[in-house]
Amino acid sequence: MPLTISLPSILARLADGNRALDASGATVAEAVADVTRRFPSLAPRLVDEHGEPYPFVTYYLNDEDIRFAGGFGATVRDGDELTIVSAVAGG
């Protein structure tokens, strides 16, 4: 399933400067694995040594925090957008 992964600028430099990457997969985990196959230096920034997201990095699938939607196992559909942002302080 094709979807778009939006990267923060700090990670885009590890993906040939692309802030938005096309990816495929049936789940968030598969989509992340797809882009880390093509851009291996992204891998340690996107997942920890257990293959899980870091606590200070949040993944949003179409505006929803994936931790409310099944985590890395969340199903993705054509045209979905997966946005990766780092945590922000309180307000």
Partner: protein, 427 residues
């Protein structure tokens, strides 16, 4: 603005401004080092950056600090700059008031209120963090600052930016309390209401900071912003006569305040400015948004985010960025955490007001009600000396208590009518 505003009133003004720089940064996760920059994220591991202080810098003694002007800059050696800051010279150094009646109600030996409800200029502790963030913005020659806010930070960013002559872009959830919206709009920032929760606003602002080159105080200036919170700990130590209480109760939203209280307490201890153990740090949240409390209760190292549902809007952060470090600070100091219902927090606002004369916003009600719970559970003990951190003013959240207060009687302008009321109240 002259440098003399940051020194004792008798200090002469320098003929030329001293150089002013933000400190370099270090990743608190992997230890990678970075030049000073408006960035809060490690490019190696995406961990949070913090300022790196020179461990060999000269630190002032108690007497030197005591003779400085009464603002948070009296602790400037522990704030993330080299040279003299030029903006927001007079926030901080709020009152620390002893509250014997509330101490008796809680069954503790002594109790004080650290009263940031009267913080200058916007009546919340956010004046502290914006004071450091806006000086970081100046160090980086940024013309625009901004924030994602639950209200108090919006007030502070708008006010401090107005005074400094900077443009401000402020993003808030669409349904904030009217007082916090008006208390921001009056300073004429670019105020944007976002459909969604604070966590939605937060995500948007992470992208905004990444795209527009602005200084968003709690996003890309976060490393410098957070350091301002330490000054609350410094002031507690100094105002108690250079000693620590045995316990501190503080509200938790993103978790930064408890984290930075811990750091500030350790820094002053390391500097020899007080003796004895660190106080136990207790955190307070509303039951409708208590991810940090639940992490403390559950243990472990993974925070479960929540979708907030509470009238304590200033604490309604379901995905707290500093939740893990706050939970660690609590457990390392043998503290605990408590969550209270909206009914309890309203009762907490009233209890604080009736026993101390301090009118706090909903976060202060959470802190007071949590202290009641902690005392009932034996987490606050009869020999404890406790400080409650009250972080915002009750005039900002009038709606939360409107229905809980008795309606005042309306009488004719006659002495007999007053006499009837006096009789009734005596019964």
């Amino acid at each position: 603005m002259t440098a003399s505003l940051f020194d004792a009133p008798s200090s002469p003004s320098p003929a030329t401004p001293s150089p002013f720089d933000a400190l370099p940064l270090i990743c608190s996760n992997c230890g990678a080092r970075f030049e000073p920059e408006p960035s809060a994220i490690c490019s190696s591991c995406l961990g949070p950056l913090v300022p790196e202080y020179d461990p060999h810098r000269t630190l002032p003694d108690r007497d030197t600090i005591a003779h400085r002007a009464p603002s948070l800059w009296r602790y400037r050696e522990w704030l993330p700059f080299a040279g003299t800051p030029t903006l927001s010279p007079d926030s901080g150094f709020t009152p620390l008031l002893e509250a014997p009646a509330l101490a008796r109600r809680l069954g503790v030996a002594r109790l004080w209120i650290k009263n940031d409800a009267v913080s200058h200029p916007t009546l919340s502790f956010k004046d502290r963090v914006v004071s450091t963030a806006i000086n970081a913005a100046r160090a980086f020659s940024l013309d625009v600052i901004g924030c994602a806010s639950t209200g108090n930070l919006a007030n502070a960013v708008a006010a401090h930016a107005a005074r400094a002559g900077l443009d401000a872009w402020i993003f808030i959830p669409h349904d904030l309390e009217p007082a916090k919206v008006m208390g921001t709009s009056v300073y004429a920032p670019k105020l944007v209401r976002v459909r969604g929760t604070y966590d939605d606003v937060n995500r948007l602002c992470a992208q905004v900071a990444d795209s527009f080159g602005w200084g968003l105080v709690n996003v890309n200036l976060r490393a410098y912003y957070g350091e301002g919170s330490k000054t609350m700990a410094f002031e507690i130590i100094e105002q108690l006569g250079w000693r620590a209480p045995t316990a501190i109760v503080a509200p938790m939203a993103g978790g930064a305040l408890v984290t930075k209280l811990h750091r500030g307490l350790r820094e002053f201890s390391d500097a020899g400015l007080y003796d004895g153990p660190l106080p136990r740090l207790h955190g307070a949240q509303a039951e409708g948004c208590a991810p940090i409390v639940r992490l403390v209760e559950r243990g472990g190292g993974r925070l479960e985010p929540e979708i907030p549902s509470t009238v304590a809007r200033s604490l309604a952060i379901g995905n707290p960025a500093d939740g893990l470090t706050a939970a660690r600070a609590i457990t390392e100091t043998n503290g605990w955490a408590a969550a209270v219902s909206d009914v309890e927090l309203v009762a907490g606002i009233r209890l604080l007001a009736e026993t101390t004369g301090i009118f706090a916003e909903t976060a202060g009600g959470v802190t007071t009600a949590a202290a009641v719970r902690l005392a009932a559970a034996g987490r606050l003990r009869p020999d404890d000396e406790v400080v409650l951190c009250i972080t915002g003013n009750g005039l900002k959240t009038l709606d939360a208590i409107a229905d809980s207060l008795p309606e005042a009687p309306v009488i004719a302008p006659r002495l007999s009518a007053v006499a009837a009321l006096v009789d009734a109240s005596a019964r």
